[in-house]
Amino acid sequence: MTSISLKSVPLTALFGIVVITGFLLTGLFADLLAPFAETEIVGMEFEPWGGDYLLGTDNLGRDMLSRLIFGARNSIGIALATTVLAFTIGTALGLLASVLGGLTDQALSRLVDMLIAIPSLVFALLLLSIFGTSILMLVLIIAMLEMTRVFRLSRAVAMNVVVMDYVEAVRLRGEGLGWLVRREILPNIMAPLVAEFGLRFCFVFLAISALSFLGLGIQPPTADWGSMVRDNAALITFGDITPLLPAGCIALLTVSINFVVDWMLHRASGLKD
């Protein structure tokens, strides 16, 4: 692929890139940006906007802005780790199934079918209540569930590549599995995988936020957008929009990622030769 000139990037994608970069930087430099510490109680509960606390305080009297900034780090970081893990496992298994075929393919595919058959939120809730709600457990369980979708996609796209003559040529040459997968197949299925990565990240992010909202995700006092909505939900009844801020962050990030992914999908389909 050739380098992309900034002019050819559509406005929506540009917007998405700017927002995502903004969030990532905020997360990275949260310590420097936040006026207060993540869990520090700085004032009264539910203080209004303005003054020392730009966006007021939450239900325990912690600074809302600082919590939002740290939330970017926690929510995005955990979602990113989960997505990366889901992709590593899913792509590896999917490629293995498509290259080896036969029994391996059957065993892996049926296992994944089984996992997919159970509604994932219910399954996640069940597993989390069995294994406890640590962050590690959360990452592992969500990754395991999202991996199934990645497996299906990578297996399907790799199948189209496996039947190519150049793959047969490589097999006839006597190359090992590693070369076959890394050098011959993976480069040819990167475009759909990258696009899927963006979409999956959104789903993982929403799943974690949903779990946090239900109280089984990221545990207090860690700042996290999902649980921040839940904790401050009461304010809505008083006409205060503060709880919508973390919800808005989730929405903004999700929309931005989708803008970028749409553009990538478009490019991938346009560069078919």
Binding site: Y166, A169, L172, R173, G174, P187
Partner: protein, 540 residues
């Protein structure tokens, strides 16, 4: 009613590449009288299909008709509304595509698809009459069981039958003009002759005008009253068929004719005690237990010699290659390399055994990884088999590129997408040579290429063979290729070897009946060939 059916004047068509419109057709004129057949020939990319579609007032996505006029029976096709054009298509102008299998809807029976245009779309005749007419046209096109065949689904009939069913479909509204876009290119020679004969008779009987698009001169010689040659979107020349065949005026036309004259001297038979490079000994192979696709196949391939394996599709040519390479281990018999048995399973073969047997594929598009540069594609086998790295590897890559007549500096960093079809096929050859093999399987390597390009590839393979003493197994269905390059010929039918022998012997009588059928099915330049051959077969 005037005599002229179709007039195209000063037609220009452009195709979009990125943001730029590139010309595809540059200023072409065309005239067609009622009942006349015009042959359009040219290499791929010459704009034949684009011109054919433009005769229906249609331009594909990403192309536009920028200038000129198309007049059909006094009506301006380009100026009228899309709605009126649709009313003409199928009814008065019909189209027959190259790959009938891709154009039929697999979920509907042939007769339903036949009846769609005359009944539900153009509302010309009731369904019952359409079915009756379908049977008549099926019979005219010499389809077996014309009363019954329409009630089958597309996958239940053969490729040749499907192509005829599509022609029948084009005839369903008794159009004035049919565009045939390479209707027999995907068929075996033995099937092609039947389809050609059937199409021509029906076109003559109904007095339909036709534009017949093909890259095969011999085919167009049978079908067309006049021939128009296109090159890169421009007309080279146009003449009545017999004049064109007898005396082409332009240099380019003559070069098209010359291709078929490339032949090579048959090499003398190897000494009887010489050990062949590859010996296929009584090989039987099957995909499904108890249903052999190869049955007791035996032949030898000697160093410096070319063995052509010929037969129709499904005769077991490619399966033989799979058995030799180890992709399909035989259930009986053996493959010997230099007198020693090769392990049947691919996984059991040593690196050196793998190195000795290389393969060149039919479709260079799928044979080269689009995400690797030429340097990586050719460099990998050099490193893998010969252990060369760095400078030595680079030198070897450049040496191979020079050997296949591509300038190293210009090509080494390109991706396959930036190569033409012939260049890709050359890279495929270089990749096989990189292993320094003794034996190369060429699987229909020229059948996807234009004749001039194909001839270049054949000459290259011939030269490499002489320089390096390579043994080739040449899988092909094209007997012109066999004449050009083979020393020894193996004729296969239904998984068996029906006849084998040196080329000279195979091309002179007496023949095995199947060999005779194959030989007599190859179209010749003589415009009377089709009539004579069909006559002969009726007598015999």
């Amino acid at each position: 009613m005037s005599d002229t059916l179709l007039t195209i004047r000063d037609l220009r068509i452009e195709g979009r590449q990125g943001d730029i419109w590139q010309p595809i057709i540059k200023c072409v004129d065309l005239d067609l009288r009622r009942g006349e057949v015009l042959g359009l020939i040219g290499e791929s990319g010459a704009g034949k299909s684009t011109l054919g579609l433009a005769a229906m007032g249609y331009s594909r996505d990403g192309t536009r008709i920028s200038q000129g006029s198309v007049t059909f029976d006094g009506m301006d096709l380009l100026g009228m509304s899309e709605r009126r054009r649709r009313g003409l298509r199928g009814k008065r102008i019909a189209y027959v595509a190259q790959s009938a299998a891709a154009y039929f809807n697999p979920a509907h029976r042939l007769i339903d698809q036949y009846a769609e245009a005359p009944t539900s779309i153009h509302r010309l005749i009731p369904r019952g009459q359409a079915e009756q007419e379908a049977r008549e046209i099926y019979a005219q096109l010499r389809l077996p069981n014309p009363d019954e065949i329409g009630f089958r689904y597309p996958h239940q009939v053969s490729g040749g039958q499907l192509q005829r069913a599509m022609t029948a479909m084009a005839m369903s509204c008794k159009p004035d003009l049919i565009i045939f876009d390479e209707p027999t290119t995907a068929l075996d020679v033995t099937t092609q002759i039947e389809v050609l004969g059937a199409i021509r008779d029906v076109v003559r009987e109904l007095g339909t005008a036709a534009i017949y698009i093909t890259h095969d001169l011999a085919v167009v010689a049978q079908m067309a009253d006049r021939i128009k040659i296109l090159l890169r979107g421009e007309e080279v020349e146009e003449q009545p068929t017999r004049d064109m065949l007898a005396a082409p005026k332009e240099e380019y036309s003559r070069s098209l004719w010359a291709v078929r004259s490339f032949t090579s001297e048959e090499k003398s038979a190897p000494a009887s005690d010489e050990v062949p490079v590859i010996r296929v000994r009584n090989v039987t192979a099957e995909y499904v237990r108890g249903a052999p696709v190869l049955d007791d196949v035996s032949f030898d391939i000697h160093a410096g010699h070319t063995v052509a394996v010929v037969g129709e599709s499904g005769s077991g040519k490619s399966t033989t290659a799979r058995a030799i390479t180890g992709l399909l281990p035989p259930v009986a018999g053996a493959i010997e390399l230099d007198g020693a048995a090769l392990p049947a399973q691919l996984a059991a073969r040593s690196k050196d055994e793998l190195r000795q047997v290389q393969m060149i594929y039919q479709s260079a598009d799928t044979a080269l990884n689009p995400k690797q540069t030429i340097r990586e594609i050719i460099g990998r086998p050099i490193r893998f088999y010969l252990g060369l790295r760095g400078k030595a590897q680079e030198e070897k890559i450049r040496e191979l590129l020079s050997a296949i007549e591509l300038e190293p500096d210009q090509f080494i960093d390109r991706y396959p997408a930036a190569l033409s079809g012939g260049q890709k096929q050359r890279i495929g050859i270089a990749r096989a040579l990189a292993a320094e093999p003794r034996f190369i399987i060429c699987d229909e390597v020229t059948s996807a290429l234009d004749q001039l390009v194909a001839e270049g590839i054949l000459r290259l393979l011939k030269r490499l063979q002489e320089e390096r003493g390579l043994a080739y197994m040449f899988i092909t269905h094209d007997l012109a290729t066999v004449k050009a390059i083979a020393d020894y010929v193996v004729v296969m039918q239904k998984g068996r070897v029906v006849e084998q022998g040196p080329k000279g012997q195979m091309f002179s009588p007496p023949h095995h009946p199947y060999t005779k059928l194959l030989l007599s099915s190859v179209p010749e330049m003589d415009p009377d060939w089709l009539d004579t051959t069909i006559q002969d077969r009726k007598k015999g």
